[in-house]
Amino acid sequence: MKSYRQIVEEAKTEIPELTVDEVKSEQDKDSDFVLLDVRDEDEYRAGYIPNAVHVTRGMLEFSVENYIPDRNQKVIVYCAAGLRSLLAAKSLREMGYTDTISLAGGYRDWMAAGYPTAQDKPMSHEQLDRYSRHFMLTEVGEQGQAKLLDAKVLMVGAGGLGSPAGVYLGAAGVGHLGIIDSDVVELSNLQRQILHRTESVGTPKVQSATTTIKSLNPDIDITPYNLRLTADNVEEIFSEYDLIVDGCDNFATRYLVNDAAVLMNKPIVHGSIFQFEGQVSLFKPHEGPCYRCMYPTPPPPGMVPS
C-alpha cells in the first residue's frame, strides 16, 4: 500500500517541474505549449492563468483529448499548489502524452509572484443551473457559455428561417440578440414561424419574437428593429453585432446583407429555403466565398417564386 506522499514522490521522479518564473518566461517567449488547469470548477471560477485550458482532474482522462489531441504537444499542468498537477501530468504520460510538465507551486505561487490572471464573468446560480447541460459538453463548458453570453448576434428576419434560429440562440444564452423585421404576424405564418403565436396576429413580428424569446430566456438582451433593412440604416445596425444570421426572404435584402457584411467584415450564417429544400453555409469575408461569389447578381424578376 502506498501513502499519498509516496505517490507524489514517485511522480516527482518521472515528471519534470518548472517554477512559475520559468513558465512565465516561456509564455513571454511565445513558446509552443498548452497550459492545462486541472483544478475544480470553483477554483477555476475564482481565477486562472490566461489562455489556460481547463479540464478538472476528475474528468482529465475522459476529456483531455478533446482539448489536446496531439500527444506530442508540450503540456504544462497546474493546480493550486503543484501536487494534483504532478499526478495529472503522470496520468497524461500513461495516456501517451510525451512532454508533460508540472508547475511547481501552482496557481498559488503564480498569484504570489503577481503574474497576470484572468477570470470569467461570474455566473449567477440561475445561470449555472440554466446552462448546466452546456457545461457537460466539454467543448462548450463555462468558457464557451461565457462567449455565448458575450456574443452579439443580429437576426435578419423573424420568419420561417429566423424562427427556429431565434428560439435556439435565445435559449442557448446568446447574450445580445438583435432582431430586424418590418412585417406583422399573419395567420398564414403560424404553421411554420414558431416565434409567433395566434394572439400575436396583426402585431409586429419583432415584438412577438421578443416576447417569445424573453419568455424562454429572460437572461438575455433583445433589441427589436421594427423596420426594413436598407442601405441607409444597415451600417449603423451591423456595427453593433459580431455575427449576422441571415434568414431574409427577398433578394434585395439578401444582397444588401451580403454586401454590407463583406464591406464591414462581418461573418454571415446564411440560410435559405424553398418548399422542401433548404441550404445553409457560413460566409466569412475573405476567408471563404460570399453570396456574390456564387451568384454575382440576382435572377431576373419572375424567375424565382417567392
Partner: protein, 73 residues
Amino acid sequence: MMATEAIKYIIGIGEPLIGRLILYEALGMTYREMKISRDENCPLCGENPVITKLIDDYDAAAENPDTFAPAAD
C-alpha cells in the same frame, strides 16, 4: 442548423461551414455537401472588386439585375 452554426462559430469549436454549402432535401430526407470557393473575379470580395460601397437602392436593383452594382459616382 443556422443556430448550431452560429453557436459553433461564437464558441470557436468544430468545423465551420466556411467554403461548404449544405443542401437539405426533406422529401428524400437527404443532405448533400457542396464545396464552394471564393471567386477571384467576385465583384464584391474578389481581387479587383467593382463594388466598393453599398448600392443606393437595393429594391430597385433587384428589379433590374443588370444594374446590380453601385451607381457610378
